[in-house]
């Protein structure tokens, strides 16, 4: 059954990666990053079961903690950009371009 979970995790990760590439709303891009993190968590949890020890679950737990911290800071950055530029599109934040 581990293989099934790994394939599902790979598919979800790929969907998240494609979403990061094609979406331009910064919030949705962020959601896709979260989806990728969750997909890796699924792989960790199924590996933990395959090997019969809990280390994989610990790593998944730490990934969740880091993801929560990342979401807090990332959404604060999106809010700050939205306040100054009135847009949440990743294409509009190009102040360093020229």
């Amino acid at each position: 059954m581990t293989g099934h979970y790994l394939v599902l995790s790979a598919i979800l990760f790929t969907i998240g990666a494609v979403g990061v590439l094609i979406r331009r709303n910064a919030i949705v891009v962020f959601m896709c990053v979260e989806l990728m993190l969750n997909a890796t968590n699924l792989a960790f949890v199924s590996f933990a079961r395959m090997h019969g020890d809990l280390d994989g679950q610990i790593i998944a737990f730490f990934v969740m903690v880091v993801a929560a911290a990342e979401v807090v800071v990332g959404l604060a950055i999106i809010m700050a950009i939205f306040r100054s530029r009135k847009s949440s599109s990743v294409d509009d934040a190009n102040l360093l371009k020229y």
Partner: protein, 285 residues
């Protein structure tokens, strides 16, 4: 002896039943989560994306529970579907629910290139997994045995991973501080006090609140001005934004424009008011 054999057999039977139940749950949730994930990246509105992500995370929580990780399943529901997605929805509401992505590509051919890259990446990963020789899952009965899953995790966190755990606390504090600093906005003008507000209000010439639309009128649409007790129209009752774009007709005005209808109603109210005044005068006689 025979008891031990019977126990082992019933254990094996239970494991088999567990296996079929697990594959049923897996296939249902795999379809649901992949469909929701695809919907998340294809739907144009950010709110729908957030709700689709909630579906994905919830099905992943159930998959964790099936994978003998009950603690992580609960943490997934509490932290992800509870806290993180609420935060996402909060920001979506602040930024604007109606904000949708425009469909114009800023980089030409980006979507096609992204799709090709995604398919290539998926094929790479899946071929890699296909070649991997995965052993039979050992199961976590032994690891979860001594005090359960939560005890096992706690034992690892506070012994082998205690340093990482401490660093995590520093990370969380830094993130909280960072969010506070980033979300903080410096006030450029001093906040008006209650006294200043009341002085401003008295000086503005109108102390009472504005009349609501539809007072003494036969229509309660927001673009129909209120009729004052003497029968005159009060333009103050219509929001200036609506008054500026007041066009077209209402269904219940029988083809009249709002202005004409309002004038007719003014006349009606005036007639009624004068009549009642006459009646009152009669009564006083």
């Amino acid at each position: 002896m025979s008891g031990a054999v019977g126990e082992a057999m019933s254990g094996a039977v239970a494991a088999g039943a567990h296996q079929t139940g697990e594959s049923a749950i897996f296939w249902i949730l795999a379809v649901v989560s992949v469909a929701a994930a695809l919907g998340m990246i294809l739907v144009r509105k950010a709110v729908y994306s957030a709700l689709m992500l909630a579906a994905v995370m919830f099905s992943l929580a159930v998959l964790y529970a099936v994978n003998e990780a009950p603690f992580l399943a609960f943490v997934q529901v509490i932290v992800y579907t509870g806290a993180v997605l609420m935060l996402f929805l909060f920001v979506v509401m602040i930024v604007g629910v109606s904000s949708t992505d425009s469909l114009v590509e800023t980089i030409r051919g980006q979507r096609v290139a992204a799709a090709v890259a995604g398919i290539g990446f998926a094929v790479l990963l899946l071929v890699g997994f296909g070649h991997a020789a995965l052993p039979r899952a050992t199961g976590l009965q032994e690891a979860n045995g001594n005090g359960g899953n939560v005890m096992g995790l706690a034992r690892l966190i506070f012994t082998k991973y205690v340093f990482a755990f401490e660093v995590t606390s520093a990370l969380l504090i830094t993130a909280a501080l960072g969010a506070m600093v980033l979300a903080h906005r410096e006030r450029l003008t001093p906040k008006p006090t209650q006294k200043e507000l009341s002085i401003r209000r008295v000086r503005s010439g109108r102390v009472s609140p504005l009349p609501p639309p539809g007072t003494y009128a036969r229509h309660n649409a927001v673009d129909m001005p209120a009729l004052l007790p003497d029968g005159s129209m009060s333009e103050l009752s219509v929001s200036p934004v609506i008054a500026r774009r007041r066009t077209g007709t209402h269904e219940d005005l029988r083809g009249e424009t709002p202005e004409v209808a309002a004038r007719h109603e003014t006349a009606t109210v005036k007639a009624v008011v004068e009549q009642s005044v006459e009646v009152e005068e009669d009564e006083t006689k």
